[in-house]
């Protein structure tokens, strides 16, 4: 019967204690609801912030790389033996040994004596893509032709393609274009 007695006694405790307890309970519940509400708001804000931060990254990753030649046309140009260039192995001097298996990749500078770079494989091409070497005029060899290419914005550009043939035994140059149309110079047009 002892538990029952305690229970009965609690039914008769000071009413002010009950009131105080219920009020305190409501206060704690309201605080908990506010915390949950703030927490929910913060979570939503954090999601938006995350999206705002990550969306530029996604845009960059999904952005197509700078316009690269896709289609391939091949033109063989016979370079006359008198077209020579300095011998050297320093790219910045413009001495580039041409071999017929080299690719020429064309940059989008029109009417400038910019030598584009060459690469023997895709990896080199990727690595060198943004290294544009300006060739001093004295190193410019025979004009092989022009190529018209388009950049990403659709602007068309005509580039001059020059040959550097330090070794006169190498007489043919295979120009392989990934994009654009090659117009051989009059000398080499057949």
């Amino acid at each position: 019967m002892r538990k029952e007695d305690f229970n009965n006694a609690l039914n008769h405790i000071d009413y002010s204690l009950v009131e105080e307890h219920i009020r305190e309970k409501e206060l704690l519940e309201a605080r908990a609801n506010r915390r949950r509400s703030i927490s929910h708001t913060v979570r939503i804000a954090a999601c938006f912030l995350f999206l705002a931060l990550i969306s530029p990254i996604i845009l960059i990753l999904t952005e197509s790389p700078a316009s690269m030649p896709q289609s391939t046309t091949t033109t063989t140009v016979l370079v006359p033996p008198e077209v020579q260039g300095p011998v050297g192995d320093d790219d910045t001097s413009g001495a580039i040994i041409l071999r017929y298996d080299y690719w020429f990749v064309f940059w989008f500078e029109s009417n400038n004596y910019y030598c584009l770079f060459s690469a023997t494989n895709d990896e080199e091409f990727e690595n060198e893509m943004y290294n544009v070497t300006k060739v001093p005029e004295r190193f410019i060899g025979e004009l092989l032709g022009t190529v018209e290419v388009s950049d990403q914005a659709g602007n068309k550009t005509v580039c001059n393609i020059y040959a550097y043939v330090p070794d006169p035994t190498h007489r043919s140059v295979v120009i392989e274009l990934r994009e654009g149309v090659f117009h051989p110079a009059e000398r080499y047009a057949n």
């Binding site: 019967m1 002892r2 538990k3 029952e4 007695d5 305690f6 229970n7 009965n8 006694a9 609690l10 039914n11 008769h12 405790i13 000071d14 009413y15 204690l17 009950v18 009131e19 105080e20 307890h21 219920i22 009020r23 305190e24 309970k25 409501e26 704690l28 519940e29 908990a32």
Partner: protein, 195 residues
């Protein structure tokens, strides 16, 4: 019309009490609409059986109807809590006379059973005397301890729920309860209740 009643926001306490005083039966509907969930939870903590809880709710509304008037409580929720607790514990006592009842109240009372006065039966007046001692003891506790005592022994809430409400750990609540129990034992002994 019933649907619109449910959609309408609940009346405030004063308006509900006015309905009781006007002997308008809508008072019961409005009380049920506003406090049903809370009162059911209090009853369930004590009884653990849905059917019994439903009956206790009905008895609570009857008790409120019979009390108002003349009573005009300042805080309706607390007033209803005292009624539902009394009704639920009476039902609980009936059941425990026959067998042990699984409920939060059983757990909480087993904490203090060992030092409760070893009398065979206490009359209503003795219960009131004991309640005064308990009330004075509760008032001597800190705010948090008071909250824990009332939650644990008055509304029979589980310890995890109390811990969550106070944003403390379960072990903190257990420690406080241990302190409260010891203090209550001493308070009862000091008032002449033999342990």
């Amino acid at each position: 019309m019933g649907i619109f009643n449910r959609l309408r926001p609940p009346l405030n306490d004063c308006e509900i009490i006015d309905l009781y005083f006007a002997r308008d039966e809508r008072a019961i509907d409005e009380t049920d609409k506003k406090y049903r969930k809370y009162l059911f939870r209090v009853a369930y903590n004590i009884l653990y059986v849905n059917e019994d809880c439903e009956e206790c709710l009905n008895d609570t509304y009857v008790g409120a109807w019979e009390s108002m008037p003349p009573e005009r409580p300042t805080y309706l929720k607390a007033f209803l809590t005292t009624i539902v607790r009394r009704v639920s514990t009476n039902r609980y006592n009936e059941r425990t006379r026959q067998k042990r009842v699984p409920s939060n109240l059983t757990d909480s009372l087993s904490d203090i059973e060992y030092f409760m006065p070893d009398n065979s039966f206490m009359k209503e007046i003795e219960a009131k005397e004991l309640s005064k001692v308990i009330s004075e003891y509760i008032k001597s506790l800190s705010k948090r301890q008071r909250y824990i005592f009332m939650s644990r022994y008055y509304t029979a809430e589980p310890i995890d729920e109390i811990a969550a409400e106070l944003s403390v750990s379960r072990s903190t609540v257990n420690k406080e309860i241990a302190f409260i129990k010891e203090g209550l034992r001493i308070a009862l002994e000091m008032e002449g209740y033999t342990v």
